[in-house]
Symmetry: C2
Subunit: 158 residues, 2 copies
Amino acid sequence: MGKTKVAGPDPIHRLLSVGEVAARSGVAVSALHFYEAKGLIQSTRNAGNQRRYARGMLRRIAVIKAAQHVGIPLASIHAAFEALPARRTPDAGDWKRLSAAWRAELDGRIERLVRLRDQLQDCIGCGCLSMAACPLRNPHDRLAQQGSGPRLLDPDPA
Amino acid sequence: MGKTKVAGPDPIHRLLSVGEVAARSGVAVSALHFYEAKGLIQSTRNAGNQRRYARGMLRRIAVIKAAQHVGIPLASIHAAFEALPARRTPDAGDWKRLSAAWRAELDGRIERLVRLRDQLQDCIGCGCLSMAACPLRNPHDRLAQQGSGPRLLDPDPA
DNA sequence: GTAAAACCTCGACTTAACTTGAGGTCAAGA
DNA sequence: TCTTGACCTCAAGTTAAGTCGAGGTTTTAC
């Protein structure tokens, strides 16, 4: 990827082309198209039907990336964005609420992962999956009762 | 799913059919076929070309499920299994080594997730992605240098 | 001995999150 | 003006981890 030309010191209100947004956000042009199709970002069009982005979109994209990075699926990000003010640019308070919600989700996920880690060690490491204490154990005398087999470890509340 | 018939108290060396394994492991028959195609499990065939599993395969499947549950992809599970003794049944020590390796991986993942959670809060929550201290910030003066954009947060070492 | 249940293979479909390519248009510099 | 390079749309491909169905065989139970 060569560098996208940037025409000098941009006036603060200049709209950005899709290539510029891609370069600055580190997201591929195709991904931006994709996000737009999914309703995660918006753009206006110029006379020649090319996308033009307001600078604020960069923050939105940064938030998308951050959320993705911690494993939040696009669908959830989309849902969270729906809760943001309709068309006015979200302010500090808006973003703060968003991050608090995700923080809670992450706390839960971390906690779950810690539990799983410990169980994994007990279960695989014990060398005997037939021990009564082992959650991994699948007792011969208790076959799949619910059609979904033994719920090893814990069910994913996602 | 109706219950699969089990012909009384099975002799300990009887081989299991795919349906029995499915019922006991809680894994669908189609998934067992899939795992076999991927080389994660093995079976022999009877005269009529039907799969027959040694009892030990149940443990292997339990380990697959446990690993999957903590987010380890099948490809990695497969790789880990390659390190197990070729055709002899893995013993306690073998499984112990495996779980230790995964434990380490999980420790890393948890640690990373904790860091990300804290950064997420600082970055999104701060209400100003342009602050110098914010890792999410994408400075105007430092455009994507390596063709992959700013490495927000931290790269995934998986 | 026959019917139902379980099994077989193979190909197509599913979701997520994109990428790649084809075929065509728009914009900017020499 | 002309030629790139950036952009457009839309369709199809990709990976993971399976599921589902069709069409056909084997086993089991009565």
